[in-house]
Symmetry: C2
Subunit: 268 residues, 2 copies
């Protein structure tokens, strides 16, 4: 059986470093498509270019919004030697470049077992005490069909914004699992780092927060099961903010860290 | 009068998006050249390509070490429209690509005055209570001539590694100012984010920590005067670590944030 996720991120080798993709309507959010899903699809194409199977670091600059339908991913190898391959990629739609990417791939399975993570696990409450995205109002689900792609169980301590009472701390935390109970892997982590609502919701700033740049570091292959995800910001200024994301797996390992620079949503 | 910094980061327009640079021996550290200095030099070339004068976000993938002497920077415009220009650049030496870069530029002077930074200033002790890099042993200065390019005054609370007693917290903090008392600007911040010793020194892991990827977000034009710089890591695992950097200016503004993924130094 192929899961929804695997079908929706599938790419077709067109030769010459180019790949075809069919961007799924199911990942639409507002007037665009979720940037993490796009990054994972590009990441899958890059994984076909090198024998280094896992993304270690992927940096994306978003230059235009994408829409559901056909897209082309053009890849190039910068250097593929030793234990790391560095590559570039571009996502094109309608003869316009929408995303440009640099990435380094390697083999996460060959890394040493030396783990000295000082970051504390985020310690989410048990899932049965968390608030599911299933409870989002119908009018929200209508403009954000991506919410049907996964289960997201929010920590009650930072879901006040959904009831008109944002905490003001600039933090969101949630359990996360893909539809079909599809287990996480290094490629899907590229999406998970951009799957939660913008952290600005917790500051009472609603609306779309367009990403300028997003870099994901995949630090370990995730264990099967649920993920814990945290978004936080510390510097909202000048109409922009940084959004830091951490992803922990069921084995208690910090498996991905990301940071993005995004524009603050404009008041409606 | 032209400062040392301005001379050492100068680029010459060769036409067709290419620029010549002369990488200064003075920025050598061990067998290579400081990655932040290289990024600032590339950043200066990119500033010649667009009328958007300030780097907002710059991401660099380091694929090979550079050496002092002639280098070529090849730039390309991905999209230059609206308030942001997105570009690519590569640094070449001896017909080999050494660094590949993506960047977005804009006008930091046109950003809104809305500042809601929740990150606390780092609160370094007064400069007269800090430990100057002038006190580094002669054999260290010999392999790291870059230390003559700036004044760096370390917070005594995290300089124990220099006396064989690293704190183990994974943090370094210092005052910073370029030689000639050259004031900071958005381009020089690209270097400042990579100027301190690797944060792994504070974990008792000495030696060169090769950068895989470095992204700098410049968040405001820095005020004239001294900068405060902090490096921290929270996830040293699998032979790699992230290094987060914050730079604050004399006006108390968080002017740059960066993160890099680097390899842990191997035991000598």
């Amino acid at each position: 059986m192929t899961t929804e996720w695997d079908r929706q991120t599938a790419v077709t080798d067109l030769g010459g470093g180019a790949f075809g993709a069919e961007l799924a309507d199911g990942w639409r959010v507002g007037g665009g498509i979720n940037g993490g899903y796009l990054l994972a699809t590009i990441g899958r194409a890059l994984g076909e270019v090198t024998k280094k199977q896992d993304p270690l670091s992927v940096s994306a600059y978003y230059v235009g919004a994408s829409h559901p339908g056909a897209a082309q991913i053009r890849t190039r190898v910068v250097r593929d030697g030793g234990s790391v391959a560095t590559m570039g990629a571009e996502l094109w739609q309608d003869d316009e470049q929408r995303i440009t990417v640099l990435a380094s791939y390697g083999d996460l399975g060959r890394l040493s077992d030396d783990v000295r993570t000082t970051a504390p696990p985020m310690g989410l409450p048990p899932r049965e005490e968390c608030i599911s995205n299933e409870h989002a109002p119908a009018h929200i689900r209508a403009i954000a069909p991506l919410m049907d792609r996964f289960e997201m169980l929010f920590d009650p301590a930072c879901i006040g914004w959904a009831m008109g009472e944002p905490s003001g701390q600039g933090e969101l935390r949630a359990w996360f699992r893909l539809a079909d109970e599809r287990d996480p892997d290094p490629i899907s982590l590229l999406m998970v780092c951009d799957a939660l609502p913008p952290v600005t919701f917790d500051l009472g700033l609603f609306g779309w927060a367009p990403t300028i740049e997003l870099t994901v570091h995949v630090r370990a292959r995730p264990a099967p099961g649920w993920l814990q995800v945290r978004h936080a910001t510390r510097n909202l200024a000048g109409g922009m903010f940084e959004e830091d994301c951490e992803v922990w797996d069921e084995a208690g390992r910090l498996v991905a860290q990301s940071r993005q620079l995004a524009r603050t949503p404009r008041p409606a």
